[in-house]
């Protein structure tokens, strides 16, 4: 009785997970559609689109996202494009330039919104659904290894600094020393990556990686009592 109740609860949690993933897939689709709309819609429809994007921005800001990056991109793009339009075509075409920039920004906002609202690992999961198993594993493994890689790079950098390599921020102001950064830091990191990929391949194969044609997916039951 207890076991079946538990199983039921677990099943409910799995469906919750599935829902999350489906929601993320839908958001991804929405983002693609909205971005595409920004390019293909006629100008008079841009205003409603901007309204939609405005909703996304508000939602994103409520989720504590920072819009600064998009704004900066917009400003840079605006200044370059407008000045070029001004030089090439004169004042009367400035509005046209502004519309172009508006389209580009409208195409960017949905992506920004996705980054804030969807958990990156969900996006990864959705994208992985389109990838062959091996590459899905590669993406997941690379992502989970990122903190380790960052530590590794930092430590190698520090070791070489202590060994006297000319790679301190001060020394790097001189472009002559840039190659030292490549040899002392990037090169050992590459060697580490080569070794790591070999060991990880063995580890994955020792756990039967690549045996089943269609591997299944683990869904963690969000059960606090486990």
């Amino acid at each position: 009785m207890w076991a079946s109740c538990r199983r039921l609860r677990a099943l409910r949690h799995w469906s919750y997970e599935r829902r999350e993933t489906a929601l993320c897939a839908l958001s991804l689709l929405l983002v693609c559609v909205l971005s595409a709309c920004a390019f293909v819609l006629p100008t008079y429809l841009l205003l409603p689109l901007a309204g939609l994007n405005g909703l996304l921005v508000i939602h994103g800001l409520l989720r504590r996202g920072s819009i600064w990056g998009v704004l900066k991109l917009g400003l840079v793009q605006l200044s370059i494009t407008l000045s070029l339009y001004l030089i090439l075509y004169g004042v009367e075409h400035l509005a046209q330039g502004a519309v172009v920039v508006a389209r580009i920004i409208l195409a960017t906002i949905p992506g920004w919104w996705l980054c804030i609202t969807a958990a990156p690992e969900r996006i990864g999961e959705v994208l992985s659904a389109f990838l062959p198993t091996k590459w899905a594993f590669v993406v997941a493994a690379s992502l989970s290894l990122l903190p380790y890689m960052a530590d590794e790079i930092r430590e190698i950098y520090q070791i070489q600094c202590l060994r006297g390599a000319r790679i301190t921020p001060k020394a790097l102001r001189n472009p002559k020393n840039w190659s030292e950064l490549v040899y002392c830091v990037l090169f050992p990191v590459l060697i580490q990556l080569l070794k790591l990929s070999r060991q990880m391949a063995v580890a994955a194969q020792s756990r039967h990686f690549g045996i089943a044609q269609r591997p299944t997916h683990w869904h963690s039951p969000r059960d606090k009592n486990d």
């Binding site: 920004a38 390019f39 370059i80 195409a107 990864g124 690379s142 290894l145 990556l193």
Partner: protein, 180 residues
């Protein structure tokens, strides 16, 4: 595209790690430098490393696609599906050009040519967006030219560093292949 090439798991993992490192470093440098075009330095470096280490058609494309996906999953840059193109397009261009280049050519030159090819495709992606957004062609061309100039400088720099690194990897017996 990546489907047709049976890479071993080890090689695929290496490609994946390179792609992740590329995305992470790009994100980091963006904060520090704020200079456009520098991402071409890292892109040409890592793609060409994959080309040199694996030495097969499609390795750069695989690296580019994975980098795009990783960038999306990490939320690097302004995000959204566009970033996938930003990483994948130069890689595909480089792979295609690599097919045309004779293997007898000096590795340095091969790398530089591939780097520049990647850069042109990279700038082409921005141009494509601009054309789609309805920008006047002159403006598109000028912006494209500027991007190629800036990116080309960094791409050449990145490509120039690859052959010595490959030679060293080989000296340490870390590559299975005899020729690049």
């Amino acid at each position: 595209m990546t489907k047709k090439i049976p890479l071993s798991l080890q090689d695929s993992l290496f490609v994946g790690f390179c792609a992740t490192l590329l995305v992470a470093l790009t994100g980091m440098l963006r904060l520090k430098l704020g200079l456009s075009g520098h991402s071409m330095f890292l892109m040409s470096f890592f793609y060409l490393i994959c080309y040199g280490v694996l030495g097969r058609f499609g390795s750069m494309t695989a690296c580019g696609v994975i980098a795009g996906i990783v960038a999306m999953a990490l939320g690097v840059g302004k995000g959204g599906p566009m970033i996938l193109l930003k990483f994948a397009l130069p890689a595909i261009a480089m792979d295609l050009v690599a097919l045309l280049l004779p293997l007898s050519m000096n590795l340095h030159w091969r790398c530089v040519i591939l780097g520049i090819a990647g850069c042109i495709a990279w700038a082409g992606k921005v141009a494509l967006t601009n054309v789609l957004a309805g920008m006047a062609l002159d403006v598109v061309l000028i912006q494209w030219g500027l991007s190629v100039l800036k990116g080309g400088f960094f791409a050449t720099l990145g490509a120039w560093l690859v052959p010595p690194v490959l030679t060293r990897l080989k000296a340490h017996d870390l590559l299975h292949r005899d020729k690049f």
